[in-house]
Structure formats: structure tokens, C-alpha cells
């Protein structure tokens, strides 16, 4: 296990894996888009506007998942003084931010024809905007501070404050009256989304996850090159 964490071993993986991940991403995305845009049925009420969901929901899931991951990694990195965890967090953040923005924009595009408004200050939408701001703070923090010690602490602190917002996003639709509808996919109870719409949703989620993995590998590879150039051989 520890052998795997040797920079040279990781570097071999991160420099070769992206092209395979890219190939896989293109394949899964093509299947997902055909399923979502052509093969899946239209909705009984919102007709073709439902297809925006196949981008909106996976994007929101991935952005929440990535923020939770970078929080967990940052906290672990802070407690155990592990530099590698911080670099993984840093490399994960950009794709999480991009998917957060995609979720907001596609939600807005869907909101106009269905709700009748581009934007509403309801709890779900506002908390999602706050998550985007936390992503932005996190990304800016890495650019501001040159001292590694400082940036590790500050970025960890930003994720700790930001993670409080994640359960608020998840449960906002249950706790308060919101314009945003409650979750259609539930683990404990029956789903209120038909299975013919569920499969394209999962394929698109896989595609977006692969895209995040791709961006992560490329960013992480750059971080490793930076370390190599500094002449350090240990993380």
C-alpha cells in the first residue's frame, strides 16, 4: 500500500491513465447522450424540458460529492500532516466547481419554461450558490498564498465551514417550503421517477464522474511534475 504512494509509481499512472479515461468518457457520454436526448421518453407534464435533468442532476451530485471528498481529504491531511491529501484535494476542486456552475445554469434554463422564472431565492438554489462561492474561495486560496503551510490550513478551514452547507443543500427541500421540488430518487423509499428515465440519469452520472476523474488526473499530474522539478522525491 505504501509502495503505491511513491511519487514515481503514482506519476506513471497519472501520466498514462488520462488517455484511457478520455476514451472511456467519450464512449459513456455518447451512450448517455443518446439515451437522454433520443431514447428516453418525454415527461407527461414538462415534455422535452425533462431532458435538462440528465445534465442538471448528475452535475449537482458530482459537485456535492467532490466538495465532500475535498473536505474529508483536507481534514485528514491536516490531522495527519499528509501533503499528498492536499494535492489531491486541490486537483479535485476545479471539476467540482465547474459542475456546480453547470447545475446552476441548467437549473436556470429549466426553471424559465417550467416555473416561469430564471432564478428564485429559495433555500435549495441559494444554498447551491453558496457552495459555488465556497468552491471559489477554496480555489482562490490556493492562488493567493505562496506558503504551503498557510494554504493547507486556510483551504482546510474553508472546506470545514463549507461542508456545513452540504447537508443543508440536501435537506433544504424537506425542511422548508421551496420552489425546487423534493428528491425523486430515494434510497429508503420508492423512487418517484420512472425507470426509463433513471437509466439515462445514471449513465450521465458515470460520464460526468469520468470527466471529473480525467480533469483530476491531469491536474494531479501537473502537481507531481511541480514536485519533481523542485527535486523532492517524497510526498
Amino acid at each position: 500500500m505504501l509502495k503505491l504512494l511513491e511519487p514515481n509509481k503514482i506519476f506513471q499512472i497519472t501520466s498514462k491513465a488520462p488517455k484511457y479515461v478520455l476514451l472511456l468518457f467519450i464512449i459513456v457520454l455518447s451512450i448517455g447522450l443518446v439515451e437522454a436526448l433520443i431514447l428516453s421518453p418525454e415527461d407527461y407534464k414538462q415534455s422535452d424540458a425533462v431532458r435538462i435533468m440528465y445534465v442538471h442532476v448528475p452535475a449537482a451530485w458530482i459537485s456535492l460529492g467532490i466538495f465532500s471528498s475535498i473536505t474529508l481529504l483536507s481534514i485528514s491531511g491536516f490531522i495527519f500532516k499528509n501533503k499528498n491529501f492536499f494535492l489531491i484535494s486541490k486537483s479535485l476542486a476545479p471539476s467540482g466547481f465547474v459542475f456546480n456552475l453547470i447545475a446552476l445554469v441548467t437549473g436556470s434554463i429549466w426553471g424559465k419554461p417550467t416555473w416561469g422564472t430564471w432564478w428564485a431565492w429559495d433555500a435549495r438554489i441559494t444554498s447551491m450558490l453558496i457552495l459555488a462561492l465556497f468552491y471559489l474561495m477554496y480555489l482562490i486560496a490556493w492562488r493567493i498564498y505562496d506558503s504551503e503551510e498557510k494554504v493547507y490550513k486556510i483551504s482546510t478551514f474553508i472546506t470545514i465551514i463549507g461542508i456545513i452547507n452540504v447537508p443543508i443543500i440536501k435537506y433544504s427541500v424537506d425542511w422548508w417550503n421551496t420552489l425546487h421540488q423534493p428528491a425523486s430518487i430515494n434510497i429508503m423509499t420508492k423512487n418517484s421517477i420512472h425507470s426509463s428515465m433513471l437509466y439515462p440519469l445514471f449513465i450521465m452520472t458515470a460520464a460526468f464522474a469520468l470527466f471529473s476523474l480525467l480533469i483530476f488526473l491531469m491536474k494531479y499530474n501537473t502537481e507531481l511534475i511541480k514536485i519533481k522539478n523542485k527535486g523532492l522525491d517524497r510526498l
Binding site: 490531522i79 422548508w176 421540488q181
Partner: protein, 139 residues
């Protein structure tokens, strides 16, 4: 197994998290009234004094309650306990229909009468193809 510093840092993070969760909980609890996007007709009924400011009322559009005369739309918002009459002039979103969710933004005339300046359709969490909806409807 772990050093003292590691344990202290762990404790530090745990305390920050607990403090933040408690603070957020207290803030959200006291803000309850303002975090909700709309009020239900029952909440309007129980208001001690009428709110002169712009508010939002949400619920279901009561069955057979929509009446359109020239450019004015009248309908009833219900939460199945209480109801409120809404008057509105202008275009309604395409998903606005009887038996569906709606949020009306505007001003209260009295506890039973609401003058809307904007109508939003609230979509529910049900997603299905039209055939399935028809099959469900026949049951």
C-alpha cells in the same frame, strides 16, 4: 498509536465542526420564517396581522377553481385545510394547471384574498412518460 499532536489536531477539527453545526442550527432555526420561499394558506389564516409587504403564497390550485375573464385569472390556492382566493392578470407559466402546485407572489388584501403580480408553477418530484401517467390514471 498516534502522536499527541495528531490527537489534538483531530480534537481541534471536531470542536470547530460541532461549534459550526450548532451555530448554523441556531441561525437557521431563528430564521425559519424567512428561509421558507412561500407561506401556505393555513399560515396566512393564522397571521395575527396582515403583512403589507410583498409575500408569496403556495399550494395546490384547487380543482375547477380557475376562471378566466378577459385578461384576469381567478383561482383558489389550497393546502387541503385552508384556501385563499387569488386574482392575477397576465400570462401564466405553461405548467400552471388545476390540481398542480403553484406559488403566487403579490399582496394580501385580506386573509381570504390575494392579489398576485407573478405566478410560478411548482413542479413536483414525479417524473414519468405520458403512457405511464395514462395507465396510472385508469386505475
Amino acid at each position: 498509536m498516534y502522536g499527541r499532536k495528531v490527537k489534538l489536531r483531530f480534537l481541534f477539527v471536531v470542536i470547530i465542526l460541532i461549534t459550526l453545526i450548532l451555530t448554523t442550527f441556531l441561525i437557521l432555526n431563528s430564521l425559519e420564517e424567512n428561509v421558507v420561499y412561500f407561506k401556505s394558506p393555513s399560515e396566512i389564516k393564522s397571521l395575527t396581522e396582515l403583512d403589507k409587504n410583498k409575500i408569496r403564497v403556495g399550494g395546490m390550485v384547487k380543482k375547477n377553481s380557475i376562471s378566466i375573464n378577459s385578461d384576469e385569472v381567478n383561482f383558489i390556492i389550497t393546502d387541503f385545510k385552508n384556501e385563499i382566493n387569488v386574482i392575477y392578470s397576465g400570462a401564466v407559466p405553461s405548467l400552471f394547471a388545476e390540481g398542480k402546485g403553484v406559488v403566487a407572489e403579490g399582496f394580501l388584501k385580506d386573509r381570504n384574498f390575494f392579489s398576485a403580480i407573478k405566478i410560478l408553477a411548482k413542479h413536483d418530484e414525479n417524473y414519468m412518460p405520458p403512457e405511464v401517467k395514462e395507465a396510472l390514471g385508469e386505475k
